[in-house]
């Protein structure tokens, strides 16, 4: 079962050349965990993404090990710049636990009830 049947050739995640994005530093990495470039993000905005969450769903920026701690602010800046929203009005993506990566064994090791400690 190891060899997956690919249903068809791999396609690009976003359309290439659909809109002519002429931006400086297009290949600059914005999300280092997921290696998402400036161009990827601007492309998502061109396809109507208006929030950090939407950009994340399309490009994976913010889905990495750091969960956007490094890139979220940069993504917000790019969003503000390219949509004309005020930077301060662009809210960060949704935060969810855990706020730091934790080992699964640790998460599973839930302490039993010790109601004495009150």
């Amino acid at each position: 079962m190891k060899n997956l049947k690919k249903i068809s050739k791999q396609k690009q995640r976003t359309y290439e050349g659909e809109s002519d994005l002429n931006i400086e530093n297009a290949d600059m990495i914005i999300c280092r965990c997921q290696e998402v470039t400036l161009k990827d993000i601007v492309q998502a905005i061109a396809e109507d993404a208006t929030t950090v969450n939407e950009i994340k769903r399309r490009t994976r920026a913010g889905m990495g090990l750091c969960q956007g701690r490094s890139c979220s602010r940069l993504v917000r800046k790019i969003l503000a710049e390219h949509t004309g929203q005020k930077f301060a009005k662009v809210i960060p993506g949704t935060f969810r636990p855990p706020v730091r990566p934790i080992a699964l064994s640790t998460l599973a090791s839930l302490e039993e009830d010790t109601d004495d400690k009150s």
């Binding site: 301060a88 949704t94 935060f95 636990p97 640790t106 302490e111």
Partner: protein, 367 residues
């Protein structure tokens, strides 16, 4: 499941001060911090502190930390959990449950009141080459230099002339590195004149209206290209210049580290003077989620001195809410603390923060 009356996340100046005040009044407190020792930012601060006499001006941050630790260790009611990451916060009827990782164990800590005093996180700046080895945050460099006594490199370009950029530049110089230049995008230096003067006297150029255009290097930073910018932050072509450096230190400001606060669902507002999105809070520092308080840099980027006062305020407010302090007594204490905090918010930087804080509290009334 463990239980306590008052749980505090973050043992920086804000968290420690809250623990001290609440415990003095009789509240049972658990204080959790992810580091191996308490103190938060204070232990990275080997320089003499700015601020007024009453607020330890002239004392080193690390010494303020030690003093707070002594006070907290005298309180039998405070349990300090170190090496303890708070990984989540969950609503449980009228109380809150914290998920804490300690000694590779997942502990659920239920508390009637929670203070989030998680401090701040550093802003990053993106330019071509920013992901190269050698581009580092000021916080990481401070930890290397002041805590581990290791130099990050030989020739450093400092990006940002706020207090952090200036102080870390000075600390790098003292430790034996060369600071090639400090660049500042704004037309004037961001930090206090005392710190700027100290650095300038050593001959380090502080280049205003200038930013990093790009950084080059094969596997690590070898060269930085600077460019001047106009009022609208547009680069002026022809003003590029190259500097040979092996470290680019980013000191581009701090933002409240608000992840746990967002998870609680409390409401935020954006206040540029306070570093971005901050939880809306009332004069007791309580957020729009009952029982969740904030203090220190999370409630708006300020200083250790204000963090201490805000922490105290929460300690008193929580003691009052839990019935350990009578209303009158609490009120006197709160007034005293507030007036001290107010004195701290003076001067051109302080006034803006003071107004921002006042507006924040006004907003909380309408929420």
């Amino acid at each position: 499941m463990r239980k306590t009356e008052f749980a505090i996340v973050g043992a920086g100046p804000a968290g420690l001060s809250a623990a001290i005040e609440a415990a003095r009044a009789g509240v049972k407190v658990v204080l959790a911090d992810e580091n191996q020792r308490p103190g938060g930012q204070l232990f990275k601060q080997i320089h003499k502190f700015f601020g007024s006499e009453a607020h330890h001006a002239g004392v080193r941050g690390i010494d303020i930390g030690t003093m707070l630790l002594q006070q907290v260790s005298q309180q039998k009611n405070v349990e300090i959990m170190l090496d303890s990451v708070v990984w989540g916060i969950f609503r449980a009827n009228t109380s809150h449950t914290l998920g804490v990782i300690h000694n590779s164990k997942n502990i659920h800590l239920k508390a009637r009141k929670v203070l989030l005093a998680t401090g701040a996180t550093e802003n990053v700046l993106a330019f071509p080459g920013w992901t190269l080895a050698g581009v580092m945050g000021a916080g990481a460099i401070q930890t290397l230099v002041n805590v581990h006594r290791v130099l990050p490199g030989k020739r450093v370009l400092m990006v940002g002339s706020g207090n952090v950029g200036l102080i870390v530049s000075y600390q790098l110089l003292q430790a034996g590195a060369e600071v090639v230049a400090i660049v500042e995008a704004l037309p004037k230096i961001g930090g206090y004149a005392v710190h700027a003067g100290k650095v300038a006297r050593t001959g380090v150029p502080i280049l205003t209206s200038t930013t990093v255009k790009e950084v080059h290097g094969k596997d690590k930073v070898e060269k930085a290209v600077l460019v001047q910018i106009d009022k609208n932050w547009q680069p002026l072509t022809g003003t590029e210049r190259e500097l040979e450096v092996d470290v680019v230190c980013l000191a581009c400001g701090l933002s409240p580290l608000a992840e746990l606060a967002w998870i609680t669902g409390c409401k935020f507002t954006d206040v540029p003077e306070l570093g971005g999105h901050v939880p809306i809070h009332n004069e007791n520092m309580e957020t729009t989620v009952p029982g969740i308080y904030v203090a220190g840099d999370l409630a708006g980027i300020e200083e250790a001195s204000t963090a201490i006062e805000e922490g105290r305020l929460v300690g008193i407010a929580v003691a009052e809410a839990l019935g350990y302090l009578a209303a009158g007594e609490a009120k006197d204490k709160k007034t005293e603390i507030s007036s001290r905090a107010e004195q701290l918010r003076e001067g051109p930087f302080g006034i803006a923060r003071k107004q921002a804080k006042e507006q924040l509290i006004c907003r909380s009334l309408s929420e």
